[in-house]
């Protein structure tokens, strides 16, 4: 209800700010990159199966075998106002995987939070499905109040052949509004991608992503694992064009530390770090 009381100048400023957030990686208003592994492959992550699938494609959680927990931190364009903290947890049961996730973005004047609960299950040997329910809250500076809403998200994962896996996900499938009295909606994203395993050491990922507001983005990434302990990643994405790369290291077979960064031509570097542990 406070949205109408914005003076024109402030609206413009905030819109610019939101535009910046959204256009840069196509994530806006709570949909942000979530693991350094995904980011270092330019977020072509819709077909990747790790605990972070909670935030990429809920169906892809089916691949995990152990209880797993992950935390992440990103500093976009090295600006302290654009920090993201994330936490995910997934637990596999006999027929399905249950997941929880939380993501915090922003600073004092603009903060958004997303808490979600998801479930994924195998429909057949090759096809699995995931659904997720998220609670979002956006809080602006005290004069402008806050808003909260629910969104739904859905994903599919198809193990096409031994080497090829397709993934598809839709975020904010119900096109939820931010407030009831203005036609402002949380953004909706559709992602379709695949993973192609070249060998035990190398795989490629590619993806197209359409954000309802922005041009289609095409992404391509690769991971190279010369040994069981270390891996290197790289990627490139269009709209806007950016590079990314990173390294990951696994120790004691259950801890994984990933470092990654994306590079935007005008805005510079976005470092990202994430850590995950497999339990039991």
């Amino acid at each position: 209800m406070y949205f109408r009381t914005f003076n024109h100048f402030l609206v413009k400023q905030i819109l610019c700010f939101l535009f910046l957030c959204c256009s840069l990686f196509g994530w806006g208003q709570g949909y942000l990159s979530n693991s350094a592994r995904a980011l270092s492959m330019s977020n072509a992550s819709v077909a990747l199966t790790d605990v972070w699938a909670h935030a990429n494609n809920p169906a892809a959680l089916v691949g995990i075998k152990k209880q797993s927990i992950g935390i992440s931190y990103q500093n976009r364009f090295s600006l302290k106002e654009m920090q993201t903290q994330g936490l995910v947890y997934a637990i596999p049961f006999k027929r399905m995987v249950f997941s929880l996730g939380s993501q915090l973005y922003g600073y004092q004047q603009y903060r958004s939070m997303k808490n979600g609960v998801g479930m994924s299950m195998a429909l057949s040997e090759k096809v699995s499905l995931g659904v997720q329910l998220n609670h979002h809250s956006i809080r602006l500076n005290e004069n402008y109040g806050n808003s909260s809403m629910l969104t739904g998200e859905m994903g599919l994962l198809v193990q096409f052949t031994e080497r090829i896996r397709f993934g598809c996900s839709v975020l904010n499938i119900g096109r939820t509004k931010i407030t009831s009295n203005a036609n402002e909606r949380l953004t909706t994203l559709m992602r379709l991608g695949m993973q192609y395993v070249i060998s035990n050491q190398v795989f490629l990922v590619s993806e197209v992503e359409k954000n309802v507001l922005y041009p289609l983005s095409v992404k391509l990434g690769a991971e190279y694992k010369p040994s069981t302990k270390i891996c290197f990643r790289g990627g490139v994405a269009t709209a806007p064009i950016s590079f990314s790369f990173g390294v990951g290291t696994t120790f004691k077979n259950r801890f994984q530390l990933d470092l990654g960064t994306a590079y935007h031509q005008l805005l510079g570097w976005s470092p990202h770090v994430s850590f995950q542990v497999d339990l039991n």
Partner: protein, 693 residues
Amino acid sequence: MKYLVLLLLVSIGLTASAQDRGEIIQQRIEFISEQLQSENMDLTNVIEQLNYYFDHPINLNVTTGEELEELYLLTGVQINELLVHRKAFGKFISIYELQSLSFWDPQTIQLVLPFVRVDDRLDQLHITWKEAMKQGKFEEYLRYLPMIEKKAGYADVSDSVRQASNKYYYGNGDRYYSRFRYTYKTNISVGLTAEKDAGEQFFRGHEKQGFDFYSAHAFFKGGKYLKSAVMGDYQIQVGQGLNLWSSYAFGKTADLTTMKRTAIPIRAYTSVDESRFLRGAAADFGYRNWSMLLFASNKKMDAASLSDSTYDDLEYISTIDLTGLHRTTSEIAKKNGITERIAGANLRYVNGALRWGAAYIYQGYDKPFNKAIQYYNQFDFRGTSFSSISSDYSYVFRNVNVFGEVSKVLRPDVQAQNGWAMVHAAMMSLDPRFSFGILYRNYQKDYQTLYNAGFSEGSNTQNEEGTYAAFKWKLASAWSINAYADLFKFPWMKYGVDAPSYGHEILIQPIYKPSKTFEIYGRFRQQLRQKNSRDSDGTVTEIEDVLQRNYRLNMSCVLNEFISLKTRLEYVTIHRASNTPEKGMLFSQDLIFKPKSSPFDLSLRFALFDTDSYDTRIYTFESNALYVFAVPAYYYQGSRAYVLLRYSFWHSCDLWIKYGVFLYENRSSISSGAEQINGSRKSDLLVQLRISL
């Protein structure tokens, strides 16, 4: 029986490669030309290299790897793997052993096969005068390109008019070329090249000495301590091309292996580009792992000079002309206006997979060079002389090849303009089916040397920062994909760009080749560059994004032993804010007819093109006589057709005749100024004769 099968296999291999010879070379040239986007270039050296190794395949049991690099078909990782394999398992017994190397995929082997062999014999070098005369090869090329449609510059005017204006040419419109060369293996080369450009005089007037341009060399390679030496005209290549690289180099191509420069210290010069070479003497000495290259050059170049009004005797040079054309009064006046002096030393160390080099180059002129200051060129070199230093490296570790170069200019007079440049890169074979490369370069705005060819988007190794990544992926037996992305920034203004700017280039090329006789590929290329807006109000010129997209579909097919076909469809669009969107398209069909036992070869093309403007022109490679390169731009609306005939006779002579014609729609004149042709037809004729003994 076993031997028979082997023989059969080898002969199949060889015939297949014989068909590909032209094709491989053609592809390389296309790569280069697309990058240079220039209609007139001379890449004789590159082709000579491939042609030479085709006739004299590299012996894999002897090679040190340097020759393999000169092919431009292999990565450092692949070469290193071969050397390591040979060390571990001994000499190759058969060429088919290459298949056991993990980074040599069948496609690479296929490409390289025509240029390599496996032999037990050692190539000992004992040059005796008798043998050199007996086994050496003499070659003479004569080329004649007459003017067909008369151009405005050849109008019949009186001498006084011609003298007063720069619109009329002194000579006739024909081009003559002659090249004589004697070679003995790759070890000795002696040659003389002469050329008269269209519009230049011949044995009269300003050209009493006959041809306008002469180039000669005597070259030796292969001594124990004197590795190579040259007198006359030559090329020098150092490191990754930042400091000194007098010849052309590959730019960004669909093939990632060309991101690495392979420097060949000394090379004889046999082309007719009248500025990009060195003239003098050079020698490369070697002792164990160390080599030392020393060279000096003193060359006259075309330049316009101005004299200082306050000091009558002080003369300075305002422009240097690199075209090498001497047709009009002003062009003739510029001839030999300045002497360029270059000298340098390059120390190199090789130890297995490690290579390191350091170089010092002095470069300067006999008169002060002082071109007019503009905002964009204010950091360029002005004065009499300067020097530059550099260091380069290359190291292969398992499946990764890292290489790079760092260079700095030293201008003692202008301390503030001592810019540096660097390039660092890694090329990896992550899997036999997947190679990946990444390159970072940063060239400062005040870095400049006279001849360089560093990896860059712009035409010079100057004022640029960027990252390039590429991969080559063999998906399945018939499918492969090549792709690259390049992001670059120009931290200072450029010619035609009145602000710092940035841009990118993306290319993706899927290739489907189900058999040796059929190939189809698609190519998408997107280039974004920033240029001055055309909507300038005369005060501040803004820059705008210029987005160019090229779409290509290319199909080639060997129908039978005699006939092959090639079809190409290309479409280009350009979007910019200050102009309506423009597009262009080209549709071409080639037919190549090569009867096996007949002395005749025939190539035919018919193409239709339709482009909205000159900006949306499409460059496309044309077959031509040996060592002639033409990548003309097709623009406006019309058709292009050519016939190229080759006739071999008396075992030692080849004759090429090419006739081509452009027919334009809705155009009553072509080109402008002295080059203007009245009418809608532009044709070209080339006759070349080769005699080799």
